[in-house]
Amino acid sequence: MKRRDYIIFALLLGIAIAYPWLHPPRYLIASALLMFCYATVVSQWNLVFGMAGIFSLAQVAIFALGAYITAMLGRYLDWSLWYTFPLAGLGGVFFSLLIGVACLRLRGIYVALLTLAVSQVMFVLIQTDSMCSSLNKVLNPATCVSLTGGAQGLGSFGSFGWRSVLGGRDWIIGDYYTMLALLVVGLVVAFVISHSRIGLAFKALRDNEELARSRGISQFKYQLLVFALSAFLTAVAGGFYAAHFGAVGTDMISFPLLLFIISMLVVGGIGRLWGPLLGAFLLMAADEVFKEVSDWRNVGLGVVVLLFMVFLPEGLAGAIEKGWQRIERLFGRRETLGQAARSDDKASSESGD
């Protein structure tokens, strides 16, 4: 976790900041910023899934909730979207806490089932929402759509507003840096938490719940805490997504997106610091390369997740780290062996008297 990680972080950040100045094709900038958005979601998911070991699949629902909060506040109340993001975050925290409470007595796969059910219920509720709300009837009598937009989705609620600052061509670069800033915050938050006392509690509960409890860690408190902590930026990422695309729809809670994002986590490495970033990058790249055969996308993702679960459960970040350690051991070998021998001597002499 030491200097090496800070150097990697600085390097990647430098590249990401410089990238738009190399005049890449516009669609690559769009892909990159979408990758930042997903990577943020994955980095927060990693807190719940990787660090706390809770198999929650609710993150995509929280992401979508954030997007809908931003979209609806922008559309119906005409708020500047910048004011909606904190509210989206808080809405996500509240929603996530409810799910956390419901999951308190569940373990393992049952948490996955419950949280998946919650997202699917949310999907169906929005998809089938065809009622014209009374509010909407007053506001838009001519084009009455349902409150959530139903299956058509919801649009025309504003954007980040970079168009008026940077112009009709470069606004996307504004969006790019906005998303990048969010990702940096997400990574820093994940890093700080995982190295903090709170993170230690999450890991302890993951490794051995009963032992953690008898060492003074309240499962109730810390489980709710991880649900709350991980939800804020996830929901804000949803808001940013909505602001960038200018539209939200039920595809944000759909199963394919869930699969896509969870694949990032699995491929990158569950519980690894660099897992989310690596996974998001690789899957976005793969998605780009295999565009031609996109009919097979979900099948392909399923196979990839399966293969990783079986052969590389620690993901690519885990595999790379292991390789690195092996190299380190190769060079530092004599030293550690000497240490072990010394401690053996000590142990035997102690027990000898």
Binding site: L200, A204, D207, N208, A212, R213, S214, R215, G216, I217
Partner: protein, 267 residues
């Protein structure tokens, strides 16, 4: 017994634990004063571990009264009991497997006795000092960086013990510290636990290895079918008719008597 007349550190009255109709612990009384070292023995299924589960809050009592420093903790959550000052180890080699030895012990130090349960990001300096002391007491200083998953049994037991010690408990509960160890390793653990006793720690320990139980404990309790059939000093145990009948057998009793006599001579 030390501190007689004063309020006991731990006072258990009529503690019972039922699993359905089965009384794993039944009407059990025990007083532990500060500085006591109480050893609990007895046949398998006597309710020894269940008693520790009850005291540490993992498996609350069905009925009865458990007071720590006069405060009832019979239905308090295990994390709060830990904050109040009781820490325990497990019979099985429980550990935080993916973490290093140091991190395992840091859990005890960071959330142990006196913690208010407020989630904070930072560690205080005293937490790191607790870790250092626990590592030293359990002889793990040189191995602190090793990952717990791959440790041999003895080290895993010591890590678990160090984690409990790091909470700086008023009362330490140790469940079978030398179960499954070879005689050489038993001596190692005995030395470490003696060190804890010398450091003034109050301990309740469960053990089947009688030579360990009798040499470490200042007072011994024998349980059978959830009840106490003996409480007194280690010597008296070996001449107690019922204990010899139910648990030790005549041969073992004689052998242990020799061992204690020898040790007494050496002192």
């Amino acid at each position: 017994m030390s501190g007689e007349g004063t309020q006991p550190l731990l006072a258990c009255r009529n503690v019972s634990k039922y699993f359905g109709a089965l009384a794993a612990v039944s009407d059990f009384d025990l007083d532990v004063h500060s500085g006591d070292v109480v050893g609990i023995g007895g046949p398998n299924g006597a309710g020894k571990t269940t008693f520790l589960d009850v005291v540490s809050g993992i498996n609350p009592a069905t009925s009865g009264d458990i007071r720590l420093d006069g405060e009832n903790i019979a239905h308090t959550a295990p994390d709060i009991i830990c904050h109040r000052g009781i820490a325990r180890t497990y019979q099985l080699n429980a550990g935080f497997d993916s973490m290093s030895i140091r991190e395992n012990i840091l859990v005890g130090a960071a959330f142990g006795q006196g913690d208010k349960g407020i989630p904070r990001l930072r560690y205080s300096r005293s937490m790191h000092q607790r870790v250092g002391r626990a590592l030293e007491l359990c002889g793990l200083q040189d191995k602190a960086h090793l990952i717990v998953r791959s440790l041999p049994v003895l080290d895993r037991k010591l890590v678990m013990l160090a984690g409990a010690v790091a909470t700086e408990p008023k009362l330490l509960l140790i469940d079978e510290p030398v179960g499954g160890l070879n005689p050489h390793e038993v001596d190692d653990v005995m030395e470490i636990v003696s060190g804890l006793v010398d450091a003034g720690m109050t301990i309740i320990l469960i053990e089947h290895v009688m030579r360990f139980l009798l040499q470490i404990s200042k007072r011994v309790v024998i349980m059978h079918h959830g009840e106490k059939i003996y409480e007194g000093d280690p010597q008296g145990l070996l001449s107690d008719q019922r204990v010899v009948e139910v648990y030790l057998g005549k041969g073992t009793a004689k052998r242990l008597q020799h061992m204690l006599a020898e040790r007494g001579g050496n002192d």
